[in-house]
């Protein structure tokens, strides 16, 4: 059996123009790793959107995913919250297990 360790998976869907502000804030908050996933479209309070045929980045969103140790969750959420704040965006946290915990 593989030894796994408890961790938190934070997923933040955020507008593309705010992406670098978010990752900068995460890095300042001591987050050492994250991945950015594309989002093709969606729907929410501010209506439907889709990336198809768009040229500018204003209209799109991305999903930033961080796997972190549970004890680091609060500073991360603080940092993320400060950036997302008045912007549209969805922040979710879920439990997970990681292999190779020494990398986190």
């Amino acid at each position: 059996m593989h030894k796994t360790h408890d961790a938190k998976r934070v997923a933040i869907i955020i507008e593309t123009p705010m992406q670098s502000r978010l990752t900068d804030a995460l890095e300042s908050a001591g987050v050492t790793g994250y991945s950015i996933l594309p989002v093709l479209g969606g729907s929410g309070k501010s209506g439907r959107w889709s990336r198809e045929g768009q040229v500018g980045r204003a209209g799109g969103m991305v999903q930033v995913v961080c796997i972190i140790r549970p004890e680091r969750l609060d500073p991360l959420l603080d940092a993320a919250y400060r950036v997302v704040d008045r912007h549209i965006g969805v922040i979710t946290v879920s439990d997970c297990q990681v292999l190779r915990a020494e990398r986190f």
Binding site: S46, G47, R48, R51, E52, G53, A58, R86
Partner: protein, 321 residues
């Protein structure tokens, strides 16, 4: 003028745009992939910048360039105040949304500019190559004015990072960069890549306008409800006004008929790439459904179909050509 409008309306460029709008309105699944649309826009920016630079290297620089740049910056910075005033009178937009919309109308739409150069060419008119640089210079100042309008009640956020993003956004860097490359390499440089950036230009523009039509149509379809009669009127009146101011500036600077018309187009057109991105960062409370629909769904089609021939006719009149 009517002839011109009809000729304009029946050009493949406009018809491709119309096809895009139609496809979006009937909810066809026709779409141009994001990467392809972005590639087309890079091509257009590169080509228009390069050709502008070559033309400058050809005709040499004169004092008008500086004047035109300054006039462009002034136009971009002041038009938002005019637009803001109109919006507060003509529509029920709150201050934040009115300011955000206003910023779009001070800034410019490079596709409208590109389409206008193509109409000039069809009419056998040339224009000052440096107008490309003027276009680049006009992208940002309007954003500052809009933010100033917003920040009076503290709802705008401005930081140095945003400044860098605005001034060094991809379109500006590519437009000015290729302008410089064109200016440095001149006619020889052009000869090397002519069959890439000159001959297929109009066809590429057709496909790009098809994509613009798809996006504009989708915006109209989904956000129609947001655009009342006041905003609709604004979306048509404001470009005419901006166009007039532009014609006056162009003619005042002694530009050619073509250059004067392009100045009008810069004044008349509304941003739909740089300003929206800046507004999302700095004025998140403003609703993109309003400013994007106005800029892309109302003003862009208006300029493309009626505006451009109108500005050309006025420019011809005022420059006596």
């Amino acid at each position: 003028m009517l002839d011109l409008a009809i000729a304009n309306l029946s050009s493949p460029l406009i018809l491709c745009f119309v096809l895009g709008v139609f496809a979006a309105l009937v909810r066809s699944d026709l779409y141009i992939p994001e990467a392809a649309a972005k590639a087309l826009s890079i091509y257009l920016l590169f080509a228009i910048g390069f050709k502008g630079g070559v033309s400058v290297s050809d005709h040499g620089l004169d004092a008008t360039l500086l004047g035109a740049l300054l006039a462009g910056v002034a136009l971009s910075a002041t038009l938002p105040f005019l637009a803001y005033g109109f919006l507060r009178i003509m529509s029920r937009l709150d201050r934040v949304n009115a300011a955000a919309v206003a910023g779009h109308y001070g800034s410019i739409s490079i596709v409208t500019f590109v389409a206008a150069t193509s109409v000039l060419q069809d009419n056998g008119l040339s224009s000052e190559g440096f107008m490309v640089a003027v276009a680049a210079a006009m992208e940002a100042p309007a954003i500052l004015s809009a933010l100033w309008l917003v920040s009076r009640d503290g709802s705008a956020r401005m930081d140095s990072k945003l400044w860098r993003e605005i001034l060094l956004n991809g379109s500006i860097v590519l437009l000015l960069g290729s302008f410089l490359i064109g200016a440095l390499t001149g006619k020889d440089g052009l000869a090397e890549i002519e069959s890439f950036i000159v001959s297929p230009f109009k066809g590429v523009l057709c496909l790009f306008l098809l994509d613009m039509g798809l996006i504009a149509g989708r915006g109209l379809r989904d956000n129609r409800a947001m655009i009342g009669p006041g905003l609709l009127a604004f979306g048509v009146v404001m470009p005419i006004l901006g166009g007039l101011v532009g014609v006056i500036a162009g003619a005042g600077l002694g530009l050619s008929t073509g250059g004067t018309m392009l100045f009008a187009v810069l004044g008349a057109s509304a941003s739909y790439i740089a300003v929206p991105a800046a507004m999302r960062v700095a004025v998140p409370d403003a609703d993109p459904g309003i400013y994007l629909t106005l800029s892309l769904g109302i003003t862009f089609p208006f300029n493309l179909t009626i505006g451009i021939p109108l500005y050309l006719a006025v420019a011809r009149m005022i420059t006596g050509a």
